[in-house]
C-alpha cells in the first residue's frame, strides 16, 4: 500500500468537504474492495474519508412500505433486519449471500453500488426493485445509476447517502456462485413492483447489470417460472471468462430467473 492520509468524518457535510479538499482522495466505507485494491497497489488515493462513523448513513428505516437503507449499512444488518424481512425478504436473502461473514460485517450497500462490480449482488437487487439512489446532492433512479463495468452516474466527489425503494408485492433472487470468488457468476432479481414487473441480471452482462425486457413481458402476462420457458437469452452481450462462457451464462440467466420467480412465490 502506498502512503495515504486517513480522515474520519462525523457528518455527511464534513465528509463531502474533506473529499472536495483532496482531489486524489476517496471515500472509504467497508473497505472490502478499496483496501485490498490499495494493498495490491492498484489504487493510490492520497486521502481516505471514512464514512462508517457518520450516524446518518447507518441503519434501515421503514415508513409504511417505503424502505430506506443508509449507505454505510453493512450487509449483515440488511440480512438480519426483521422489519425489512417482513416487507421484502428477497433483499435480506440477497445480502445474506454476499461473500462471507467477515465481508458482510464490514462491506456496505453504499460501497457496493458505488463500486458497481459487474458480479456484485446489490446492483441486481436495486435495479430489480426500481430503487432510488440518494446522494449528497440529488436522487438517481437505479435505471440511470448503473452505467457500465465499475461505472455509475456518480460524479467525482458525489456521495451515496442512502437507497430507497417501495416494497414490492413479490420479489426473489437466485444467485449462481462463481466457484472461486463466490461473487455472482449470474444472479437474477425478479420483482413485482408497484410500477410493474422488473427483472435485473448481474454477473452476466458484458456491460454490467441489466434488465431483461423479454422476461419482464413474459412475467407480466403470467407470473410463473413456466412463463419464461420460451423466452430466449441472447449470449452476444454476455461475459465470457475462465469460469463461464457467454453460452453457459445465457443458460444460467434463464435458469436463475426461473428459480428467482419460484423463490418469490
Amino acid at each position: 500500500m502506498y502512503a495515504t492520509s486517513y480522515h474520519r468524518a462525523s457528518s455527511v457535510e464534513e465528509a463531502v468537504q474533506l473529499r472536495s479538499a483532496h482531489e486524489e482522495g476517496k471515500y472509504l466505507s467497508g473497505g472490502m474492495t478499496l483496501i485490498s485494491t490499495m494493498k495490491q497497489r492498484l489504487a493510490a488515493p492520497s486521502d481516505l474519508v471514512d464514512l462508517r462513523h457518520i450516524p446518518a448513513l447507518r441503519g434501515i428505516s421503514i415508513e409504511g412500505r417505503r424502505v430506506k437503507i443508509g449507505a454505510a449499512t453493512p450487509h449483515a444488518d440488511v440480512a438480519a433486519s426483521r422489519e425489512l424481512r417482513a416487507l421484502c425478504p428477497a433483499i435480506c436473502d440477497l445480502a445474506s449471500h454476499i461473500g462471507d461473514p467477515h465481508v458482510r460485517q464490514m462491506g456496505t450497500i453504499g460501497g457496493s453500488i458505488a463500486n458497481n462490480d459487474p458480479a456484485a449482488d446489490y446492483p441486481a437487487g436495486l435495479l430489480g426493485l426500481g430503487a432510488t439512489i440518494v446522494t449528497d446532492r440529488r436522487s438517481i433512479s437505479a435505471d440511470d445509476f448503473f452505467v457500465g463495468l465499475f461505472e455509475t452516474a456518480l460524479e467525482e466527489e458525489e456521495m451515496v447517502t442512502a437507497v430507497t425503494f417501495e416494497a414490492p408485492e413479490k420479489a426473489g433472487y437466485a444467485k449462481f456462485n462463481n466457484p472461486a470468488s463466490r461473487f455472482a457468476m449470474t444472479g437474477v432479481f425478479v420483482a413485482k413492483t408497484v410500477s410493474g414487473v422488473r427483472v435485473a441480471v448481474t454477473g452476466a452482462g458484458s456491460d454490467g447489470v441489466f434488465r431483461h425486457p423479454g422476461f419482464e413481458q413474459a412475467l407480466t402476462s403470467s407470473w410463473s417460472a413456466d412463463a419464461l420457458a420460451n423466452v430466449s437469452v441472447d449470449p452476444s452481450s454476455l461475459l465470457s471468462d475462465l469460469h463461464a462462457n457467454a453460452e453457459y451464462r445465457a443458460n444460467l440467466v434463464k435458469v436463475m430467473a426461473k428459480r428467482a420467480v419460484a423463490a418469490a412465490g
Binding site: M1, Y2, A3, Q40, R41, F176, P179, A180, S181, L242, H243, A244, N245, Y248, N251, L252, V255
Partner: protein, 781 residues
C-alpha cells in the same frame, strides 16, 4: 498413568499453540537490526534483459541496498539444480537449463526473480522495487506443452533443443504392442491431469542472518526438510560450508510438497545479508505464491489398455507428456518418471506395461511434487481407463477390477515395484458396503424423479510411500539417500527428547512420535518432547514428503529406542541384581519378569547420569542415535467411492456421499490419520471439481489469486465415510504404510467416474466445473 500409546486417539499436542495463535512461523521471527526484502520479478513470460538500472531504486527512502544477478554470480553463488538424474531412452542425460537465483540475461516465466531490494520496511522495499528500471526485449512465449513441442516454438534453453528435457521409457514397448495387436478388446483414452497450485496456508518466507564475527549464516525458512536445504545450499550454491550454515524450519503452515525445494529466495536473502550486513527477511504474498511456488501435475497422456476374451488385462501402453515449467525444480524429474510410471500397474496383475514420458520446458513456473507427486497422475489415468473399459465391455466396474486384482504377495510388477502386502478386495468390499452400492439403482430413480442425474464411481488406488531404500533410489538417479535418523535423549529425570530428521508441517509428529515412545516405555506422553527442524539441534535427516515420516522416520525412532531400552535394561538388571534377559519394561517401570521387583524408569535414567553404580565398563548417559534405511517402499492402497447428483440445468455437481476405505497398515493415531485423509480428499476433490492453473497464450498467469483459483471450501465437501482395512506392512518394524497422500491420490478418478456415470458421456476433463459438465451434457444430446 496417562499412557497414550500406539492406536490411541490422542488429540494433537501441537494444536494448543496453533489454535491459540502461539505458533512460531518464519515470519514471526524478528532479530535486532532486521530489514525487509522485496524481489523485483519479471512481468514477462519470456524476455531478454537488455539493461538493469538500479540507481534510482538505491536512492529511495529507507533502502539499504539493491542487488542483482550479476553481483550474485560474481560472488560465486551457484545455479539451482535438479537432484535426480534421468536418462533418455537414447542414453543421453536430461537437458538441464541454467536456473540462476537472480536472472542475469534471460527471464523465462512471469515471476522469475531479477533483483532484491533490502530496506527498512517492506513498504519501502516495494516502493524501491518499482523504481528499478529494466529494459526487456520481449520474446515469444509458450505456456502449454503441446505448443512447446511444435516445430518453430519459442526455445527456452540452449541446452534443450525443441524444449525437450528427456524422452524416457520404462517397460518393453514391443511386448506391449504385440499384446495390444492380439487383444480381444482395447480401450483407448486421452487423459489430462490438470495443473494445480499447492496453496499452503502459510506462504513461503525466509530470514537470512549473516554473522560477520563468526562468518556464519542462519537461515530461517519454510522448509519441509531443513537438512536437505543446508546440504544443497552448501554443496551446490556455495552459500557457505555446512558447518557455517544453520537452517531452521520452525513451525511451518503446510507444504504439500511445495516447501521441499530450495527456491531462489533463501539463497538470495542469505547472500544479501552478507552483502548488506543486516539480517534480511522476505515473506511471500499470496499472488507471489501463485506465481513462484512450484506447481503440481500438468500431464497429458494417451492410453491403451488391452484385454483378453476373459476380460483380463494383457497390456497397458502409456504415452505421457509432462510440463516441467521454465526450469527443472529440485525433484521435478523424478515425479513424472519413478514416482509415476512405476505405479501404472495399480492394483492389477498386468503382464506387460510400457510407458513413454517426455518432459518439456514451457514459460511457466517450475512444476514439481505436489501431494501425491506422480501417483495421483498414475491413479487417475489407470482408474479412468479401467472404468471406461468396464463401460465398453458392459461389465460392472467392480467386477472388472476384482477379476484383475493382484492376489498373492509379494508381487513383482513389470515396472520396478515389488508390492509386499495388500488385500485389495477387502477395501473394495468395505467401500461398496459402506456406500450401499447395491441400493444405487433405487437412489438413481429417486433422483430422476426430481429431475436430477445421479452417478456412482469408484477408484482403486495404490501408491508407494516411504520413498527408499537409498541404494535403490540411488541406482535410479537420486542425488540423495532416503533414510531417516533419530536420536532418543533420556534426561536425568527420565523425561525424553526425541530428535527426528523428519519435519512436521501439519502432520502431527509431535503427537504420533510421542505416542510411540509413550507406548514403548509406559511413560506419560507429556514427558516426551519431539525436536525437529533445526540443523544445529538435530542430526542430519532427510525431512518429510511422500508420506515417509511414519514408515521411515518412526522406524528410525524404533531403532534408537531399541538401543536405549537395551542399555536401560542392563542398568536395571545391575541395580536389581537380576539377569538382563529377565527385565521387561512396563508402565514406566523396569521389572524383573514374574517377580514384584521393579525400578521406576526415572531412577534408571538418573542412575545412568549419576554413574555411581553402573555395570562395570558402561559409559554414563542414556542417549542413542539411529539411522534407518528401509528395505522397500510401502504400498498403501484402498477403494474410494463417490456418489454424485448432477443438476442438468446448471451442470452443478453435488457430492451425495464419499466413501474412503484405506489400508494404511497399522495405525498410530486414528484421529490424525482421519485428518490426513480428510485433507487429502479435500485436495483431490478440489482437483476434480474446482482447481486449475491457467496461463494465457503469452504466459501470463490468469489464476493469480483466490478470486480466480477455486480452492475447495467446507461446503463444497460432503461428510466423509472412512474405514480402515489392515494388512500390516512387512517392510518396517511398525507395520505402517503412510496416509498423507492417499486422499489426494484416490479421489479424483472416483469423482470423475461418478460424474461421467451420471451424465452418460465419458468426455469430461478435470476440473469438472459446472460449465464443463453442462457442456458435456449438451454435447451428448
Amino acid at each position: 498413568m496417562g499412557v497414550e500409546g500406539i492406536g490411541a486417539r490422542v488429540t494433537r499436542k501441537e494444536d494448543k499453540r496453533f489454535l491459540t495463535g502461539k505458533g512460531r512461523y518464519t515470519d514471526d521471527m524478528t532479530v535486532p537490526g532486521m530489514k525487509y526484502a522485496y524481489f523485483v520479478r519479471s512481468p514477462h513470460a519470456h524476455a531478454k534483459i537488455v539493461n538493469i538500472d538500479l540507481s534510482a531504486a538505491k536512492s529511495m527512502p529507507g533502502v539499504i541496498d539493491v542487488l542483482d544477478g550479476k553481483e550474485l554470480q560474481a560472488d560465486g553463488i551457484g545455479n539451482l539444480i535438479c537432484g535426480w538424474m534421468i536418462h533418455s531412452k537414447d542414453g543421453s542425460p536430461m537437458k538441464m537449463g541454467a536456473w540462476r537465483p537472480l536472472a542475469v540475461d534471460t527471464v523465462r516465466y512471469v515471476g522469475d526473480a531479477i533483483a532484491i531490494v533490502v530496506a527498512d520496511t517492506s513498504g519501502e522495499a516495494r516502493d524501491a522495487a518499482e523504481a528499478v528500471v529494466i529494459d526487456y526485449e520481449v520474446l515469444p512465449a509458450v505456456a502449454d506443452v503441446t505448443a512447446a513441442m511444435r516445430a518453430g516454438a519459442p526455445q527456452l534453453h540452449p541446452e534443450a533443443p525443441g524444449n525437450l528435457i528427456f524422452d524416457w521409457q520404462i517397460g518393453d514397448p514391443d511386448a506391449a504392442d504385440r499384446a495390444i495387436a492380439s487383444a480381444a478388446h482395447v480401450t483407448e483414452i486421452d487423459i489430462v491431469n490438470n495443473r494445480l497450485s499447492p496453496n499452503p496456508m502459510e506462504p513461503r518466507a525466509t530470514l537470512g542472518i549473516y554473522d560477520s564475527a563468526e562468518d556464519h549464516y542462519t537461515c530461517y525458512t519454510t522448509s519441509q526438510n531443513p537438512h536437505v536445504a543446508r546440504l544443497v545450499m552448501s554443496a551446490f550454491y556455495n552459500v557457505a560450508p555446512e558447518n557455517k550454515l544453520r537452517v531452521i524450519a520452525p513451525d511451518v503452515g503446510g507444504g504439500f510438497g511445495s516447501k521441499i525445494y530450495i527456491y531462489p529466495e533463501e539463497i538470495v536473502c542469505l547472500w544479501a545479508s552478507k552483502k548488506t550486513n543486516v539480517p534480511v527477511k522476505w515473506t511471500s504474498d499470496r499472488t507471489e505464491a501463485f506465481l513462484t511456488d512450484a506447481h503440481g501435475r500438468d500431464h497429458i497422456s494417451k492410453v491403451r489398455m488391452a484385454f483378453d476374451a476373459d476380460h483380463r488385462i494383457t497390456a497397458l501402453k502409456v504415452d505421457t507428456i509432462a510440463n516441467l515449467g521454465a526450469y527443472m525444480s529440485l525433484f521435478s524429474s523424478a515425479v513424472p518418471t519413478y514416482l509415476y510410471a512405476t505405479l501404472l500397474s495399480g492394483q492389477y496383475a498386468i503382464p506387460t506395461i510400457h510407458a513413454n514420458v517426455r518432459t518439456v520446458y514451457t514459460n511457466t513456473v517450475p512444476v514439481d511434487a505436489y501431494r501425491g507427486a506422480g501417483r495421483p497422475e498414475a491413479t487417475y489415468l489407470l482408474e479412468r481407463t479401467i472404468e471406461t473399459a468396464a463401460r465398453e465391455l458392459g461389465l460392472s466396474p467392480a467386477e472388472l477390477r476384482r477379476k484383475n486384482f493382484i492376489r498373492s504377495f509379494p508381487y513383482q510388477t513389470p515396472v520396478i515395484m515389488n508390492y509386499d502386502a495388500g488385500n485389495y478386495e477387502a477395501s473394495l468390499d468395505a467401500a461398496m458396503q459402506a456406500a450401499d452400492w447395491n441400493g444405487f439403482a433405487a437412489r438413481r430413480s429417486g433422483s430422476e424423479a426430481r429431475g436430477k442425474k445421479r452417478g456412482i464411481g469408484m477408484s482403486c488406488y495404490i501408491e508407494a510411500c516411504g520413498i527408499a531404500p537409498s541404494a535403490a533410489v540411488g541406482s535410479l538417479g537420486a542425488g540423495v539417500g532416503l533414510w531417516e535418523s533419530a536420536e532418543v535423549r533420556v534426561n536425568a529425570v527420565g523425561t525424553i527428547e526425541v530428535l527426528t530428521g523428519s519435519h512436521s508441517h501439519g502432520q502431527g509428529h509431535e503427537t504420533t512420535f510421542a505416542q510411540l515412545v509413550a507406548g514403548r516405555l509406559g511413560v506419560p506422553i507429556e514427558s516426551i518432547n519431539i525436536v525437529h527442524g533445526d540443523t544445529d539441534k538435530v542430526q542430519m535427516g532427510m525431512g518429510t514428503y511422500g508420506s515417509r515420516s511414519g514408515a521411515v522416520g518412526m522406524s528410525a525412532i524404533v531403532k534408537a529406542l531399541d538401543k536405549v531400552e537395551a542399555k536401560a535394561k542392563k542398568i536395571a538388571a545391575h541395580l536389581m541384581e537380576a539377569s538382563e534377559e529377565d527385565i521387561v519394561i512396563e508402565n514406566g517401570e523396569l521389572k524383573v519378569a514374574g517377580t514384584d521387583k521393579a525400578v521406576p524408569w526415572f531412577q534408571v535414567a538418573l542412575a545412568s547420569y549419576t554413574a555411581h553404580n553402573l555395570p562395570s565398563g558402561m559409559e554414563p548417559g542414556l542417549k542413542e542415535t539411529a539411522f534407518y534405511d528401509p528395505s522397500n517402499f510401502t504400498f498403501p492402497a484402498g477403494c474410494y467411492i463417490a456418489e454424485v447428483e448432477v443438476d442438468p440445468e446448471t451442470g452443478e455437481t453435488d457430492i451425495i456421499q464419499f466413501v474412503a476405505a484405506d489400508d494404511f497398515g497399522n495405525i498410530i493415531n486414528p484421529l490424525i490419520v482421519e485428518g490426513q485423509v480428510h485433507g487429502g480428499l479435500a485436495q483431490g476433490i478440489g482437483q476434480a471439481l474446482l482447481e486449475a492453473v491457467h496461463y494465457d497464450e503469452n504466459g501470463q498467469l490468469l489464476t493469480a489469486s483466490f478470486m480466480d483459483y477455486a480452492m475447495p471450501r467446507a461446503d463444497d465437501l460432503p461428510s466423509f465415510k472412512l474405514s480402515h482395512q489392515n494388512t500390516p506392512c512387512p517392510s518396517n518394524p511398525l507395520g505402517i504404510k503412510g496416509c498423507g497422500e492417499a486422499g489426494a491420490i484416490g479421489s479424483p478418478p472416483a469423482l470423475i467416474n461418478a460424474i461421467t456415470d451420471a451424465i452418460g458421456t465419458n468426455r469430461l476433463t478435470m476440473p469438472a466445473t459446472s460449465m464443463k459438465v453442462w457442456q458435456a451434457i449438451h454435447a451428448a444430446h
